[in-house]
Symmetry: C2
Subunit: 338 residues, 2 copies
């Protein structure tokens, strides 16, 4: 395996010139740089990761903690993991995966062994055991999600309240006065996930603001529960003309199948919109308007914020990403009253 010495020799320069060429930490004359670069390519040189970590101030590794709980949607978690990893690679960082049974210990371990420059935490609950640790460790860390106590933390997440408000606003502007919200299973709200609560509260607040009637159900994932959930909504709101779904993928497709079975047309009879979904609602039948939750956006921002801390700016921060509305024709003005 070629070392920096081999490169230096072949290029006819000193090793520091090679090092600086790579890091860009000082200006190198064009001809010199060219000789170095071609020597590097000729030898297929790669800096030794261990040496870099030891001598340098950076390891170029992020630790990613991704706990898996009973009701974790694995697909959603995976999307965030990949988004973070992809964003990290763009700035020459790699991602080390810390799993649930290792998460608290692991944070301490990768930190004090100087394996990782910073930490990114996924799927944060309101009362997350990792948060005190993050505060105590006092190293660059970014949380994707918003725990109850954000004191001293750097957090990033979609603005769920804003998303709910945007959803209500769009439907209200179309003329809807009765909007149903179909949420996650009850257990998800109990357990301490924060985003379902933030969305629900934002939804109800925005609706109250505009004098709109709402009803809210939290069906389990099986067909029967979903049927009953819909029945409940229609019962609670006799004039229901719009439905907002903040739920898992299979639940949403099932809802669409049930509505189709019942001969309810979208958006003719009912406007439907999907809120804060990670999956692709454009392939649904019919394709749904949505306010997407983008793992890419959150991941990219988390990497940015972590780097910012690594490079010195340790100001705590809660960064809420603005929601955006994607139209696909599943909403329309409500049908004229009979």
């Amino acid at each position: 395996m070629a070392t920096i010495h081999d490169v230096a020799r072949l290029a006819g320069v000193s090793i520091s010139t090679v090092s600086y060429t790579l890091s860009g930490n000082r200006s190198i004359a064009e001809p010199t740089r060219n000789r170095v670069v071609s020597a590097i390519q000729e030898l297929g040189y790669r800096p030794n990761a261990g040496a870099r970590m030891l001598a340098g101030t950076r390891t170029h590794i992020f630790a990613l903690t991704a706990p898996v709980r009973a009701d974790t949607q694995p697909g959603v978690l995976m999307s965030f993991v990949l988004a973070v990893a992809t964003a990290a690679r763009k700035i020459d960082y790699d991602v080390l995966l810390l799993t649930a049974d290792d998460s608290s210990t692991g944070l301490e371990r990768v930190t004090s062994s100087r394996l990782a420059d910073g930490i990114i935490a996924l799927d944060v609950s309101l009362d997350d055991e990792r948060m005190p640790l993050l505060r105590a460790l006092n190293i660059p860390a970014t949380v994707i999600g918003v725990p109850a106590d954000t004191d001293g933390l750097v957090c990033v997440d979609l603005d769920f309240e804003g998303a709910a408000s945007l959803a209500v606003g769009r439907l209200a502007d179309l003329g809807h006065r009765s909007i149903g919200l179909l949420g996650f299973p009850h257990s998800t709200y109990d357990w301490g996930a924060n985003y379902p609560l933030r969305f629900r509260d934002g939804f109800q607040a925005a609706a109250a603001d505009r004098g709109i009637d709402t009803a809210f159900v939290m069906p389990a994932s099986d067909l029967d529960s979903i049927r009953r959930g819909l029945d409940e909504l229609f019962a609670a709101l006799p004039r229901l003309t719009a439905l907002v779904m903040h739920a898992g993928e299979s639940v949403q497709t099932t809802v669409l199948e049930i509505l189709a079975d019942r001969g309810i047309s979208i958006p003719g009879d009912l406007s439907v919109l999907s809120a804060c979904a990670v999956f692709d609602t454009s392939e649904f039948n019919p394709p749904l308007d949505e306010i997407p939750l983008s793992p890419e956006d959150s991941g990219t921002r988390a990497v940015e914020l972590t780097i910012r801390q690594i490079t010195g700016d340790r100001t705590p921060l809660v960064d809420l990403l603005p929601p955006r509305y994607v139209s696909r024709g599943s909403t329309a003005p409500p049908p004229a009253a009979p």
Copy 2:
């Protein structure tokens, strides 16, 4: 941050003694070891990862490549990722995640920068682009899955043919003579995933061996396709008394709901068994007999095989894990012919 020198000083020994105490590479007198251990704890000492990588022969890191394709079941992938990470931690290894768009380059990168000691590759297709690279890189690597050409590779996977044969055998022994197989969507078979093919072929071979009639459908994931798939099976096999499912979770639950809707009782009218599922079929309604596909087993074995290569034994190998049968009361002898 405490270094090995601090520990040595506090324990009143040389740094080599500390190092050997930690690595266990030579015997240390009991009293000495105790002094060292308490010094380590008192100082909260952690070996510097970079220094260890540089000086030692091991980095204690595995690279894990987990490509995400269009029809990847994210939950399944995540299970394997977690299983590998968990197994790795048990032998003091960490896992570095290589994402799809980085996978080929990434393998080269982590290898030649000496970031990882070995590679574990997930979700291998029959004709996987990473396989030639793995052969060329010539470093410890284990593939979870079985590509078309296993030459020079170390592979581990469930014995899908054996699993299919076991499924057919159990049902045949109960007296069933007509067995339907409900598989993955058609696209999955086309794309080059290997396990669905291996299962299907094993299924048909085992059935042929025993003179059993079979039919095979590959429904898409929506309700209609699944209904049609079941109809096809019942049409093709008028005396169908047993159903084997090798499909995604939502498809399997949907099948059970359809069967319940149609008043078909399990196992009274129809014996049903789930084959090679990663998810939990014990919570299904009714709970299903299954031949599980255990990510934990595959992950643990992959880690073992990778370590074996790291420690010198580079013999290529295809290790097929034996299937096991879990009874939950969803199979029974076929109903007496009317």
